[in-house]
């Protein structure tokens, strides 16, 4: 097992290297550069831009630019933003990464806590009222666009009832301790629910169909015939076997967790990685694009590794060596 993990980790290195080349090629292939977007202020003379372009190394051949980037990256330096004057990539990503992780985990927890029980129950009692309700919820959840649900949530729960804050992550940056944590959670409720909606619907549908499959299989019938308790059948046999596809999904979800909340972040003006990512792409802020992409790439790789490891936990027959 350990050997397997180490082997997988070693494979990551060339993959990440390849990833950086692809991202760099794509980022620089987009029309314009970090100064094109800034070059909208006619009171600034064109020579100033030219001088800054030179200074940022944007006039160097692409391989040179790539080499410069990778060599400072290899020394653990993500560099400076080319768009936001004086801001290091680290300072831009820093706080936002945490915000995104909190929000992602919060939403993911909601997803699992709602989807798995609901899915199993639907499978246990197919075509019951709750099953139909769950199915309806699933389709609606998938069909409603994130931003629409988000805006309705803001309108109803924030503006009309005033129960939850509509925007941001905190109401008073000076709070500390438990008060700060509560304030944060309070701000996370609406974006968290919005983000969790589509995920919950997907997971629930997966869980239901998987559990239905398992419930119809021979070994469950055998277990029933042996007189095993309902509880035991559901938790020991059904749940465990039905979890495999959920684990696969979770592995992928890891990357999405970091970068996929763009729209939700925007609606709730939640300062996370997603909006920064989109902004950096429109601004052609190469160092930031590279850093975030790399972060996403690494997370997806680790997510998949984690999923592979979890397979063997859920199903002891799966062994790696």
């Amino acid at each position: 097992m350990y050997k397997y993990i180490i082997r997988r980790l070693l494979v990551f290195i060339p993959m990440i290297f390849l990833l950086t080349i692809i991202i760099f090629a794509l980022a620089t292939a987009a029309p314009g550069d970090p100064l094109t977007g800034k070059k909208v202020d006619p009171s600034i003379s064109p020579e100033v831009y030219e001088q800054q372009r030179e200074e940022l190394g944007l006039n160097d051949p692409l391989p040179v630019q790539y080499f410069n980037w990778i060599s400072s990256f290899a020394q653990g330096d993500f560099g400076e933003s080319m768009f936001y004057n004086g801001r290091s990539v680290e300072s831009l990503i820093g706080a936002r990464l945490l915000n995104t992780v909190y929000l992602g985990l919060f939403a993911f927890a909601i997803t699992l806590l709602v989807a798995i029980p609901l899915g199993i129950y639907s499978a246990k009692k197919p075509y019951s009222l709750l099953d139909y309700g769950g199915t309806a919820f699933g389709f609606i959840g998938l069909a409603i666009p994130n931003f629409f649900f988000g805006l309705i949530a803001i309108y109803v729960f924030s503006i009309t009832f005033g129960w939850f804050p509509a925007q941001g992550t905190t109401s008073d940056p000076n709070l500390t301790g438990a008060a700060a944590l509560l304030d944060r959670l309070h701000h996370m409720v609406l974006p968290g629910l919005t983000l969790a909606l589509a995920g919950t619907a997907t997971y629930m549908r997966y869980m239901r169909s998987e559990a239905l499959d398992v419930l119809g299989s021979d070994y469950i019938r055998t277990a029933k015939a042996k007189g095993m308790s309902e509880r035991s059948i559901v938790f020991k046999h059904t749940l465990r076997n039905a979890l495999i596809p959920i684990i696969t999904l979770t592995g992928y979800e890891f990357g999405v967790l970091l970068g996929g909340a763009v729209i939700t972040e925007q609606v709730f003006n939640y300062p996370g990685l997603g909006t920064l990512f989109i902004d950096s792409i429109t601004n052609r802020d190469y160092p930031v694009i590279m850093a975030i992409n790399l972060l996403l790439g690494v997370t997806v790789l680790f997510g998949n590794l984690l999923a592979d490891i979890l397979y063997s936990v859920a199903d002891p027959r799966i062994r790696y060596d």
């Binding site: 909208v40 202020d41 006619p42 064109p46 200074e55 004086g86 801001r87 805006l151 503006i159 009309t160």
Partner: protein
């Protein structure tokens, strides 16, 4: 100057949704209208917090000489000050400088500074700070450190020599004594006060920091370390979310009444709701209320509305010339090499297009009757603006068709579209960027209106702003018509930057010697030292512009600002709502 409205395209969609939601919520509006309007009562009270909204996060660079975006500049209006500022007629009036005198040919201005002005950290503001600010902006390392504002220092005496590192002696701005400072210009300067209007940074804070390290230093980025002389200072920065400013107790014009001013970054589509429930107190330049929401906000009794003309316009540009591929490569702007765009070479054709477009319809339909149709490319708030010098291109499709017929552009093959006089196909490519919802909506309407008079238009897919600008920069392509918006300088009406032959932002590649001679004359001393002379020259220039028509001015978007009526002492100026914020106070402050 700057380009406006680079908002995220998504907001557009969100906005539409909120409008639908808002339409379903009349009951909420009624509750508000029952509230008593807060009248200013009694004397100003101390204390309280007001919250302003921005729809886009500032980049985070809060050193005014390195700040780039409008959002940074907006927040800096509370924290930093300059020698002079502008009043309601856009004239320069004293700020940190209480008075000044100029020599005869305007090569020197001597400013007498206010005494007893203290920085946020308690140090005293002196003439040395002024020298330091302008010296830093002239530094050889300033541009490579990321500085853009060389416009303010280029006219100074000895700038070239100092900037190129030939000399260490900075002659441009000299401290005569602690409270007197003189600006020396290399040539007679037409707009000396404009040049002296840049926000001042503290010498004692920055003197030991190399210019190249300044933008990345805590003194430029972090609350508590950013020091200005303004009525408020940074207390907390939650990056991209919330910017808290607190009162500068020792402010030289008197202790500000408010405890705090908070800037929050708010999604545009949610802002109206937050104005309604009082979470947000004010919004002004560069954001304001979308025209579509103006009527909704006007039903909120607790909000004061401000409706003004913005310093900007949207244009339909006519690509009159293209640069050659070689020139684009070498980044040369040489009109001798330009290739004429035959499709739009005829002045009559451009005028006919102008008559074919229903600009008043755009104002009524897209801007809900807010905003203006203009014919002069000089902001109408400026003394130099003269609409009477311009031709009036009111909507007149009949006249447009007549002019096209006369020019020989008639439909020869019966497909409903006109051909060139030689009988060749004549289709104009219209390109435009995404980002401004109204502009995006105007593009297909323009194409439709042109087709109604028989002009074939190929409406290209809109491009994201950066890609679009890149295309405009590298203009050896097939663009004929383009849409773009320009923000205009509030300090001076000089149109050189947008319409001079040599300006890269003259996207039309308008090559008109007469225009060039006029805008140069309006900036050349000694005649141009006289404003009446400049006014005359600009009137003539506006006539030339409007006749030759390198771009049709479509409309001016309105500046729709609002603030909660619990805030007293707000002064509305054409260019800002945030002046004299030390005089703001709120009713029932705790």
């Amino acid at each position: 100057m700057f380009m406006k409205n680079r908002k995220k395209a998504l907001s557009v969609l969100l906005l539409a949704i909120v409008l639908i939601l808002a339409a379903c919520s009349d009951s909420a509006g009624d509750e508000n209208s029952n509230q008593e309007k807060n009248e200013p009562v009694g004397d100003p009270q101390e204390g309280g917090t007001v919250t302003g909204a921005l729809n886009t996060a500032p980049g985070g660079q809060f050193n005014p000489i390195f700040a780039v975006d409008l959002y940074e500049e907006t927040i800096l209006e509370f924290t930093h000050e300059s020698l002079v500022k502008q009043n309601e007629s856009l004239e320069f009036i004293p700020s940190l400088a209480k008075e000044w005198e100029m020599n005869e040919d305007q090569t020197q201005v001597t400013f007498h500074l206010e005494e007893g002005v203290t920085w946020h950290d308690g140090e005293e503001f002196t003439a040395d700070d002024v020298v330091f600010t302008y010296q830093t902006m002239s530094d050889p390392d300033y541009i490579s450190a990321g500085g853009f504002r060389t416009l303010y220092v280029e006219p100074l005496l000895g700038y070239e020599a100092y900037n190129s590192g030939e000399t260490d002696e900075f002659q441009g701005v000299v401290a005569d004594d602690e409270y007197t400072v003189t600006f020396h210009f290399a040539e007679p300067e037409i707009t000396p006060l404009y040049m002296a209007s840049y926000p001042i940074i503290p010498q004692h804070v920055f003197e030991n920091i190399a210019v190249s390290d300044m933008p990345g230093s805590p003194e430029s980025l972090e609350a508590g370390s950013i020091i200005g002389t303004g009525p408020f200072k940074f207390a907390n920065i939650s990056d991209r979310e919330q910017y808290t400013l607190e009162r500068h107790e020792a402010y030289w014009q008197g202790k500000p009444y408010l405890d705090q001013v908070v800037w929050r970054i708010v999604e545009s589509s949610v802002m109206i709701g937050l104005l309604e429930n009082g979470d947000i107190d004010f919004t002004a330049r560069p954001n304001g209320i979308p025209p579509a929401d103006f009527d909704t906000v006007s039903t909120y009794n607790h909000m004061e509305l401000v409706e003004q003309t913005d310093f900007s316009y949207q244009v339909l540009g006519f690509k009159m010339n293209h640069r050659t591929a070689d020139d684009v490569n070498d980044q040369v702007i040489n009109p001798d090499n330009w290739i004429e765009n035959e499709k739009l070479a005829d002045q009559n054709i451009r005028q006919a297009i102008a008559y074919a477009i229903n600009r008043e319809g755009f104002v009524q339909g897209l801007l809900y009757g807010k905003g203006d149709v203009i014919n002069s490319p000089i902001a109408q708030q400026h003394w130099a603006s003269d609409e009477s010098a311009t031709a009036d291109y009111s909507y007149d499709p009949g006249k447009a068709m007549e002019m096209l017929d006369e020019a020989g552009y008639v439909d020869q093959d019966g497909d409903g579209l006109r051909e060139t006089p030689n009988g060749d196909e004549w289709v104009l490519n219209l390109k435009y960027p995404t980002g401004n919802q109204l502009r995006e909506r105007s593009a297909p309407l323009i194409a439709q209106q042109l087709e109604e008079v028989g002009i074939g238009v190929d409406l290209k897919q809109p491009k994201e702003m950066t890609a679009f600008l890149n295309e405009m920069d590298q203009d050896n392509d097939d663009t004929d018509l383009y849409l773009i918006g320009w923000g205009l300088e509030t300090a001076d009406p000089d149109p050189t930057e947008l319409w001079s032959i040599h300006s890269p932002w003259n996207y039309s590649r308008w090559n008109n010697e007469e225009s060039e001679a006029l805008i140069t004359a309006a900036r050349t001393a000694p005649d141009a030292l006289d404003q009446a002379y400049r006014k005359e020259v600009y009137a003539e220039w506006q006539r030339v512009y409007s006749e030759d028509l390198p771009a049709l001015l479509l409309y001016v978007e309105p500046a729709l600002w609002t603030y909660n009526s619990r805030i007293n002492g707000v002064e509305v100026l054409p260019h800002t709502l945030l002046d004299n914020s030390h005089l703001w106070w709120v009713n029932n402050a705790q």
